[in-house]
């Protein structure tokens, strides 16, 4: 679909379906050095390379970014085995791509710093990040970016997904899937408008537990007992679906230094031998943890709020179509199941008629807390809105 946003500015969303191929002709006319192509793809397209190759050929000069997902989002619907893509040609905004390697989660902070260092220029307004979803500590990545970038630069994005497999995630770097990489794009100049919003919709329940043994984002014990055993108990029959089924009970964590701020943490791996669980962000020792559970209505409402918040920035702008990038947690999809699209519809409801939604179900969301610095979120619906004036 071609959207004429203004005389020169254009973006177009398009999709690929494993059984039906590209749903529309590829908008190759948007190809330019100042064009960003985003492609959120099913993990299968790492081996089934044809569609990504076609994309690369259609946009030879453009910057192509993308990642594997746990569900591709396009205009209120979620699909599997597909590619949701957008080509956005910027006229008055300069864009710049950067990538950094992450061999293990210990590299996360350094990778964040490297990206920030590459992109950090005075006219930088916003950064959109796509990171591999496993072997990364999203909290440290966000901290590295925050430390390297000046205040006021909005950093949003997400961690790649792998269905509910938690085996291999990848991002597109150098037009190829790369499993141990973080990519980012910087937006420069005064014409770019970036909005963002992030909401959860999970409520803590049951006893508060103290993190008695943990290292970085690896949790061993709560209240002196193995955390994995606790999850098994609560998951019942679904324990054999670990680690993905743990997404049903994400952990709410309050640190000792900021007890009023509760962060929701999603599990990304388990280790039966060590009886440990790896989360997408830090679980500080001594902090208070509590299981959370979803409430369908609240999940959906939160998605709408997130979209509202991101869209607010553009309300006073001239009527120009807005690209809304939804990064929603795989956990939400797992919980919502057949009702998943209700949250996408809720997010779409606040959009204008010419606005378009694209996005993916992720293993972690990056977005600032309200107007503060970027942070890793789990189990949230994070919306980033982009338009150029």
């Amino acid at each position: 679909m071609i959207v004429e946003t203004s005389r020169d500015t254009k973006f177009e969303t398009f999709a690929y379906d494993a059984s039906a191929g590209w749903t529309t002709r590829l908008p190759a006319h948007l190809n330019s050095v100042n064009t960003l192509v985003l492609a959120f793809a099913s993990p299968r397209f790492r081996s089934d390379t044809a569609p990504l190759n076609e994309l690369s050929q259609a946009f030879p000069q453009s910057i192509i970014m993308g990642c594997s997902t746990a569900g591709e989002i396009m205009d209120g619907e979620v699909h599997d085995d597909s590619i949701a893509a957008v080509a956005f040609r910027f006229e008055r905004t300069r864009i710049q791509f950067a990538s950094a390697e992450i061999r293990s989660s210990g590299d996360s902070y350094a990778a964040g710093q490297a990206l920030g260092g590459d992109l950090g220029e005075p006219s930088l307004k916003a950064v959109f990040v796509l990171s591999t979803g496993l072997n990364v500590n999203g909290s440290e990545l966000a901290r590295g970016l925050n430390d390297a970038l000046p205040e006021g630069v909005a950093v949003t994005g997400g961690l790649a997904g792998d269905g509910s497999e938690f085996k291999e995630t990848w991002v597109i770097d150098q037009r190829m899937p790369a499993t141990r990489t973080v990519t980012a794009i910087g937006f420069y100049g005064d014409s770019i408008r970036i909005g963002h919003g992030s909401r959860g919709g999970f409520d803590p329940f049951g006893p508060r537990r103290i993190v008695t043994r943990a290292a970085g984002n690896v949790l061993f014990e709560l209240d002196g007992k193995p955390a994995l055993a606790l999850y098994r108990q609560y998951l019942g029959d679904r324990a054999n679906e670990l680690p993905s089924s743990a997404l049903l009970f994400p952990l709410s964590v309050r640190t000792k230094s900021e007890p009023q701020k509760a962060l929701i943490r999603t599990i990304i791996a388990i280790d039966e031998d060590a009886q440990s669980m790896t989360f997408a962000g830090d679980i500080p020792l001594g902090s208070t943890a509590q299981l959370t559970r979803s409430n369908f209505d609240r999940l959906v409402t939160a998605a709408g709020e997130s979209s509202q918040c991101a869209r607010m920035l553009h309300d006073d702008s001239p009527p120009s179509p807005v690209l809304s990038i939804a990064v929603s947690c795989v956990g939400r999809r797992l919980i919502l199941g057949e009702r998943t699209e209700a949250e996408l519809e809720a997010a779409c409801e606040v959009m204008g008629p010419a606005d378009r939604q694209i996005g993916f179900y992720s293993y972690g969301e990056l977005s600032p807390f309200e107007t503060g610095r970027c942070n890793l979120h789990n189990q949230s619906m994070t919306i980033t809105t982009i338009c150029e004036q």
């Binding site: 619907e77 329940f205 049951g206 006893p207 108990q233 609560y234 998951l235 019942g236 029959d237 679904r238 049903l248 009970f249 299981l291 559970r293 199941g337 057949e338 009702r339 699209e341 209700a342």
Partner: protein, 604 residues
């Protein structure tokens, strides 16, 4: 209205609510979606129920744990509270004990501050305080009669010195006890309303009694008499019976005292008066005593600094040859000129100096000054005229070899021939500590200085002394001459002494020669030298030369008279003739005192 989820499923599968699916695949896809949804709902339901169960259990467990914890806490708190209560009770008990100790100690300290440790009687501080209150009370109630009794135990110092401090302390305790008993008994003497009394020890052997609420002032005398009687009963100390008496001075409230100090001072003055009048007495203070006692107090205080302030001076009385009528020697005597009271009698200041223990320093000053003076005279004019100078030595100076060393030092210092110095020692001094006196005399004589026995015949003169002590001469006490004219027995005694001294080759000097009759008697008995007002009163140093000239000229008169009168053994003196005042024209001016010598054991 159809469920939104079903609506979405129908829409997604491109079916219609209004038409049956045309193909089997669409129908199966729809059924599969609906089946998934049901399955999901079941799972959600199961999960919710499970988590609800687990959470409830966990919360219940937590609640139990909290309860258990609470119970444990309560038990611990109860146990700790009990412990604390025990500890508190212990602390309270300890506090009570400490408080009791502090109270007892405070009482002790207060008692100690206000009482005399030795006798347990109230001390000076308490006495002053009580007296002060009574004086103030009298200012409100003029009819109030009270008295202060100042008591001094007459022989305390002597007893303390001779029997030791332990005996002295015992004596003081006994006195205190008797005071108490006597005062209790006196309650009936005083026909007072309710006689209160307070006996206190002010220090040493001084006790004070405050008699309160007397019916009249006479009661104080009655109580005092009773006290005197009780205190004069013998005391048994170290299995020895000791007799003594007390002197009591009374100050009475009718004087209208404003301060305790004044009242005690006046009682003290009255006590001194009692002592002066002969001890064992009661004297009530009157204003006339004040001056007398103030003088005594001043003198007591001033004598301590009189030597260094140069208030002592020497006078010299010639010793005259009854054969030639010329002065052959001088006796040195000491006088004190007080800046306020003028000349103070040796009778007054010498016992005082002995009591205060400063007689030794005065004696040394006398020795030093006299030797220096005589040495100077010998160098200038008297070498051929005066053969020696006598100086009186006090008992305090007569201890071992010290005196000899000092005398030798002074003689050498002033370049005086030791043979021209004579030390006079009284009989009492010799007998007080015979061994030490003997050693001292021997040491002095070894240095070539002679020693005369002074006042021989005044006390219990023992001939034994004359052979026990190596003496060079005797001074015959004036008492012989005072009675010589009335009794022949005395003349015989003098004659015996003359004979004795000649036999023992000792010099003999008669003291107290005041008349020509006495001169004639002495001449007739063979006494060669005499001393007395007839020849000269003691003279200040500057008058000595002229005084001696006068005696020399009078000696002619003495010779002239020898032609008249009864037979005389040697030379001649008209014993019937009194010296006219004209005859004394050239005699030295009498000085200072009314008597030529004090009636005491030691003179200086």
């Amino acid at each position: 209205m159809m469920h939104s989820l079903l609506q979405r499923q129908i829409r997604k599968l491109m079916l219609s609510e209004d038409a049956v699916p045309v193909d089997l695949a669409s129908w199966q896809a729809f059924l599969s979606a609906v089946d998934r949804t049901y399955g999901q709902f079941d799972q959600d339901r199961d999960l919710l129920e499970l988590s609800l169960d687990l959470t409830s259990r966990e919360m219940r467990q937590l609640y139990d744990e909290v309860e258990r914890h609470n119970e444990q806490l309560e038990t611990e708190v109860a146990a700790r509270t009990a412990e604390l209560e025990v500890a508190n009770a212990r602390d309270r008990q300890r506090m009570d004990e400490l408080e009791n100790i502090v109270q007892a100690r405070t009482v002790e300290i207060r008692h100690a501050a206000l009482h005399d440790k030795l006798t347990g009687l109230p001390n000076r501080s308490m006495f002053y305080d009580r007296l002060h209150h009574v004086i103030q009370r009298r200012q409100r109630i003029p009819d109030l009669h009270f008295a202060v009794l100042f008591i001094d135990f007459d022989r305390f110092k002597a007893i303390n010195d001779s029997l030791g401090h332990a005996a002295g302390d015992k004596l003081l305790r006994t006195i205190a006890q008797r005071l108490h008993e006597s005062l209790r008994a006196s309650d009936t003497i005083c026909s007072s309303k309710e006689t209160g009394f307070l006996a206190a020890r002010l220090g040493g052997d001084e006790f004070c009694i405050l008699l309160e609420d007397l019916k009249d002032d006479a009661d104080a005398i009655a109580v005092s008499d009773r006290l005197l009687e009780d205190l004069s009963r013998p005391y048994v100390l170290d299995e020895r019976s000791v007799n003594s008496s007390a002197s009591i001075g009374i100050a009475r409230s009718n004087v209208g005292y404003k301060s305790a100090e004044d009242m005690i001072r006046d009682a003290d003055i009255a006590m001194y008066r009692a002592k002066h009048l002969g001890r064992g007495r009661v004297v009530v203070f009157d204003q006339t005593m004040h001056g007398t006692v103030m003088r005594k107090i001043d003198i007591e205080s001033d004598i301590k600094t009189a030597v260094e302030r140069g208030q002592f001076y020497l006078v010299f009385q010639p010793i005259v040859s009854l054969v030639t009528g010329r002065a052959v020697a001088l006796e040195t005597l000491c006088r004190w000129e007080h800046p306020i009271y003028g000349d103070v009698s040796p009778e007054e200041f010498i016992p005082l100096a002995e009591e205060l223990g400063i007689i030794d320093s005065i004696g040394n000053w006398v020795l030093d000054t006299a030797i220096a003076q005589f040495a100077e005279w010998q160098r200038t004019w008297c070498r051929d005229r005066l053969s020696f100078l006598t100086v009186n030595v006090s008992p305090a100076q007569l201890t071992g070899a010290e005196l000899a060393t000092r005398v030798a030092g002074l003689v050498s210092k002033h370049d005086l021939d030791p043979a021209s110095l004579v030390l006079e020692i009284t009989e009492t001094t010799l007998t007080r500590n015979a061994e030490e006196a003997l050693a001292a005399i021997q040491a002095v004589r070894a240095r070539g200085v002679r020693v005369f026995l002074d006042d021989f015949g005044s006390g219990y003169s023992s001939l034994g002394i004359l052979h026990e002590f190596p003496l060079d001469g005797i001074k015959l006490d004036r008492a012989f001459l005072e009675s010589a004219s009335s009794t022949r027995r005395v003349a015989a005694c003098i004659h015996s002494v003359v004979t004795l001294t000649r036999t023992l080759r000792m010099a003999l000097i008669a003291e107290g020669v005041e008349s020509y009759e006495q001169v004639a008697l002495l001449q007739s008995l063979g006494c060669d030298d005499g001393q007395g007002f007839l020849f000269s009163r003691p003279m200040r140093a500057e008058d000595v030369a002229a005084g001696l000239e006068s005696i020399a000229s009078e000696s002619r008169l003495l010779d002239a008279s020898s032609e008249v009168g009864p037979a005389r053994p040697t030379g001649g003196v008209d014993l019937t003739r009194q010296p006219s005042s004209e005859a004394g024209v050239n005699r030295p001016r009498p000085i200072g005192i009314s008597k030529d010598r004090p009636a005491i054991q030691y003179k200086c």
